[in-house]
Symmetry: C2
Subunit: 447 residues, 2 copies
């Protein structure tokens, strides 16, 4: 069923047919269609109320924060209560974090005392921690239960989605004792005991672990869900793989932004105001602009040389760009390796040695091609051609070694390695290449 | 159980204790420990053969290609046959793609005719297609089956891992008719008919779809598995979420590499030879180095101006760097937006207008701060300070507009948008900023 057809039915007010079609559709697709800009809030609410109740809640979870806000403030208290009761807990927390105070109040008024306590606890987990992305919908067994009792329990709780495929075994203090998969349950005899089936080599996260660490665990072990425990090893929630995929995408986007000298932001580009985007970019541009004046000062200090040998100036862009690009290549690989866990702090000496050898190969190749080009094609004086080529080699070596080691150094002092990316390395490589270039030139021309 | 303990047991040859401990461990952890460099192939094989057979196959799937190669060539035919029989099909295909011919032959000799045909079919799917990452381990029902029959079938097939949580309903020609989750099965009465329980609004991929598209579908619908059909809509395999997470990580790594002007590579940095790393970097450095000579030529053509007003040279690094950084910011955001599907081709006019306004704000702010700095701190002549500041504004505008639009233009002509990242934008922005700078200066000083 395609989007135009649905929008047409809405416009023609063929609600009976619409209701039938929607009830058979995927919740994500419905949310996407109802997000259409052409739809006013009145019509949206009309259609939203037309959905079977459970489907409505699932669709609601996939709406943008803005649409959720509009809908919540227009619904009656009993409708809000239904949503609050049925929404997955992590989706509700995500929503609450973005809502204005009056809507948060409306939601809290429609939840039980117990639930309100939990909501407050969850809202207090640090941003980007395992606690902030976990949910409380999971199935808990005791080790003495039989498979039949366990399956009955799953049916009784009646959870939707994938949160039932891994179940958790806890003791009377809710300490995590093991896990058992639904796969194991359905392929075991009804009277088997959970304690005999469960896997005790349980891998779990702590509520305060960073979400990046959790994502790495998912990548490593191919989980679809991971239990989260508190300081006393009590089970407090689970994290599901769909939320981890969002984390991975967000973290990578953040790295891309930081590496291009921007303050990171989770806002969608097209929905963000121009002023806000400008602010995210200006700080780093300013810092880098001021830093670049160092290179300017180096040039100024050699102005006698430059007035005497004007042609030297024309090689500055090529030297600066090649230095910057060489350094960016190295720093990008190392930053990415650190992010995926492939590279660790202890690899620093190996990286240094590797980058040095790569730089030698790359530097000499570039310098050789450059030397030929200058002498044969541009007919530049041999002395100057050699000066430029030697500077090129040294620049590539400096840039690659610095680009390779700075991200590791940043990690060592608990800074984000992504800060040590292209823009910063370029600024450093610029200054170094100019110093090398002019020092050799001064010596050559004795100025 | 920690790594040192295990390695200690190996060294002390306490194999009985070791065997017991290993049999209770997670397969990923075992593979990680056995990958230790200190372990020779003989000891590795000894321990590998000590593992319960099914666990051994799971551990094998997590070994690096190099270790897999070593093990396969040392095993007996019957051992190889067991691995071939029990390995997940997608893991086997991954392995075969990386093995030398003699090992591929050894494996094919130990597989059935039917299996060999399938292997050849799978090896022929284009790289990075849905077909190349799917597996054939899934459960298939007919619509007339009851829940009891379906559950019995799951038990009979006895698949491991998450591939049983979504099951597929096909007709007699193997055309996909619907899906039904294990959750639905266990919460429905034994005598319900599959046809009444299955979801017919099935979302699926085609064997030739790009894996990035598949990853987007997983992100959008929060699936844990997705069916893959051929041209005639016949079910040919499924893709599971753990493989999609790997795809996401690889695709992002590739983007990082291309954006830093490198040929993309899936090899791990620390395991790749220096010569190979150098080759991946040199092509783009060379192209960009040659392109940067355009900027050099621009400078040369204004050498009368530069000899007369030597101070102009000292602002070149700041102008070039700020232009490059401004352009990188814009292109990075757009490239990432295109990769996550947030930005589409049709958004081009919106982006152009947005980047233009951002550039005005950023350009004027930077220029104003720069003007104050030059006049007050550096005591530069007002005319030159103004010249530099005006150039700065125009440079930022050019860089941001070009940086915003080139990735979209690349996508339009089916090039990888990631190519239009920092390094290329920097080279273009350099040339433009120098032209603006010298043109205004020539007019000012009438040279």
């Amino acid at each position: 069923m395609n989007e135009e057809k649905i929008l047409e039915l809405i416009q023609e007010k063929k609600y009976k047919e619409l209701k039938k079609i929607l009830s058979e559709m995927n919740e994500v697709d419905i949310a996407e269609i109802l997000e259409d800009e052409a739809l006013d809030l009145g019509t949206l609410l009309l259609i939203f109320r037309m959905l079977p109740k459970d489907l409505a809640v699932e669709v609601f979870a996939y709406f943008s924060k803005e649409k959720q806000r509009g809908i919540i403030s227009s619904l009656t208290d009993s409708e809000v209560k239904h949503i609050v009761d049925e929404l997955f807990f992590d989706d509700m927390i995500d929503m609450l974090e973005e809502m204005p105070a009056n809507i948060v109040k409306k939601i809290l008024l429609n939840s039980s005392v117990e639930e309100r306590k939990l909501i407050n606890q969850f809202l207090n987990y640090p941003e980007d921690s395992a606690g902030s992305i976990m949910t409380i919908e999971y199935v808990e067994f005791k080790r003495s239960m039989t498979v039949k009792e366990a399956l009955d329990r799953i049916r009784a709780i009646g959870l939707t989605k994938e949160t039932i495929y891994t179940c958790y075994v806890t003791d009377r203090n809710r300490k995590l004792e093991g896990i058992v998969s639904l796969r194991t349950l359905v392929s075991s005899p009804d009277n088997s005991i959970i304690a005999d089936l469960m896997d005790e080599d349980t891998i779990y996260a702590h509520t305060h672990d960073d979400q990046e660490l959790v994502a790495e665990m998912f990548m490593k072990y191919d989980f679809i869900a991971l239990p989260v425990v508190d300081m006393e090893n009590r089970l407090t929630g689970i994290i599901t793989v769909d939320d981890i995929m969002d984390v991975m995408e967000r973290e990578d986007t953040e790295d891309f932004q930081i590496m291009a000298a921007m303050s990171p932001s989770e806002d969608a580009y097209l929905d963000t105001k121009v002023l806000r985007l400008a602010r995210q970019r200006i700080v780093w541009l300013l810092i880098l602009m001021i830093s670049a004046t160092v290179s300017g000062a180096i040039i100024s200090s050699f102005d006698d040389l430059l007035s005497a040998v004007v042609i030297l100036t024309s090689f500055i862009p090529m030297l600066m760009d090649t230095g910057g690009n060489s350094g960016s290549q190295s720093s990008t690989l190392i930053i990415r390796g650190l992010a995926t866990g492939e590279i660790e702090l202890k690899d620093a000496p190996k990286i240094l040695w590797k980058e040095f050898r790569i730089a030698l190969m790359v530097g000499f190749s570039l310098a050789f091609i450059n030397l030929l080009r200058l002498i044969i094609l541009e007919r530049i004086d041999f002395g100057i051609s050699l000066l430029v080529s030697v500077t090129l080699i040294l620049t590539v070596i400096f840039a690659k070694v610095i680009g390779g080691i700075l991200p590791i150094a940043a990690k060592k002092v608990k800074l984000d390695p992504a800060l040590m990316a292209g823009p910063l390395i370029t600024t450093i490589a610029d200054a170094l290449s100019l110093i090398v270039y002019f020092s050799i030139a001064s010596w050559m021309f004795r100025i």
